[in-house]
Symmetry: C2
Subunit: 226 residues, 2 copies
């Protein structure tokens, strides 16, 4: 290895992750990345081929990291096993999943992942199909497994919609973060805000799930005026 510091590729990746997440692909120049990594512009091309190649690696690394984080407490039991769990345990499991997602998406240390995800929705790249297949789809399938056990009479389509409704509520706070922070007048989400938010999402979703999973009728069931 030449002069410089020991791991140029790693420092480049870290710098690129941060800058791509914060400013986006187009607004980030490889000179910015190189400067922040304490490396030369040519180093980027040497190790990653091109700016786009570097971006793809950043995306891959970031999603792999998150996947690892969210599956740290072991694999999800099979549907057969899960179906025997008491309702309380299923809700606790769902709560842990939601809390984990909140942590990954909204806790400052891992801000990059949410930002990159948002950017990929804004300007999809070749990496999106891979991310969907390897990360989003299994994640949703697992959540669906829990939801299906919580509402055994619901159709597969209904379960899918419920899963989307649950995930939507968490993603909302990440995707609308700039606007929501302005609305609540805070510089960032406080730990307390996130905790209360998580609790609300679970409560709201359990209620919604009970309502849509009840039957197939279209009209909302009258339940007595409040």
């Amino acid at each position: 290895m030449a002069s410089g510091s020991p791991q140029t590729p790693g420092r480049l990746l870290a710098a690129a992750t941060d800058l791509f997440a914060r400013r986006g692909f187009h607004a980030t120049s490889i000179r910015d990345i190189a400067e922040r990594a304490g490396a030369n512009v040519a180093a980027g091309h040497y190790h990653y081929g091109s700016k786009r190649g570097l971006y793809v690696q950043v995306l891959r690394a970031q999603f792999a990291l998150v996947r690892e984080l969210t599956t740290r407490d072991g694999a999800l039991p099979s549907k057969r096993v899960l179906a025997r769990w008491p309702r309380r345990e299923l809700i606790a499991l769902l709560t842990r999943r939601v809390a984990g997602t909140v942590e990954v998406l909204l806790d400052p240390p891992s801000q990059a992942h949410g930002a990159l995800m948002l950017r990929e929705m804004c300007d999809p790249t070749d990496a999106l199909p891979i991310i969907v297949d390897e990360f989003i789809r299994p994640q949703m399938k697992e959540t669906a497994r829990i939801v299906a056990c919580l509402a055994p009479h619901a159709s597969a389509r209904t379960v899918e919609q419920v899963v989307r409704s649950i995930i939507a509520q968490v993603l909302f706070y990440r995707f609308t973060m700039p606007a929501t922070l302005l609305l609540i007048g805070a510089p960032r989400y406080s730990r307390r805000f996130l905790n209360e938010m998580t609790a609300h999402v679970i409560r709201f979703s359990i209620g919604g799930l009970a309502h849509v999973g009840r039957g197939r009728r279209r009209r909302d069931s009258p339940r007595g005026r409040r």
Copy 2:
């Protein structure tokens, strides 16, 4: 007026709206805009001062248009009046609002608005505070008025959270559109998909609302195993 066509500024704005929405601010050059508008690069600077100025005007025009669309069936009644409405009517009102938002955000003709909103969340500009104050905040306050009447015993904070949960579900389909379309294996949201989605969001939210608005207890109320 010189040669060219009659309304250069309008054509520039239309071209810019389309391109900014589709490619984003950085990825769109004023030469692209000029070419698409059949105008010269200098015309943009003459009428809008700068690229950023043009972008701000695009944003303003787009949000004004949507604001006009969503308030077309008159102003929302006051909370006092709304409080006397039967539950069924309140739900119908909420449904119309959600359906209107779905139409604005996800119907092809008005795709630009959702895209620009998403981009503003990715890379907030000086226009965001204005958009939040003049568009998002009133929109949420109005929805909160309906929700508050549907759950009269809920605290203001709970109402806010419910409003966010409802809006979140609609925004989800817009913000995650590239990924969700890949997941469901469709090139675009079909009319039927959107209708079923809207119905689900309402049902799910009514259930969630009933659950969170019931009391202040933290635990979810046991309702008998299903």
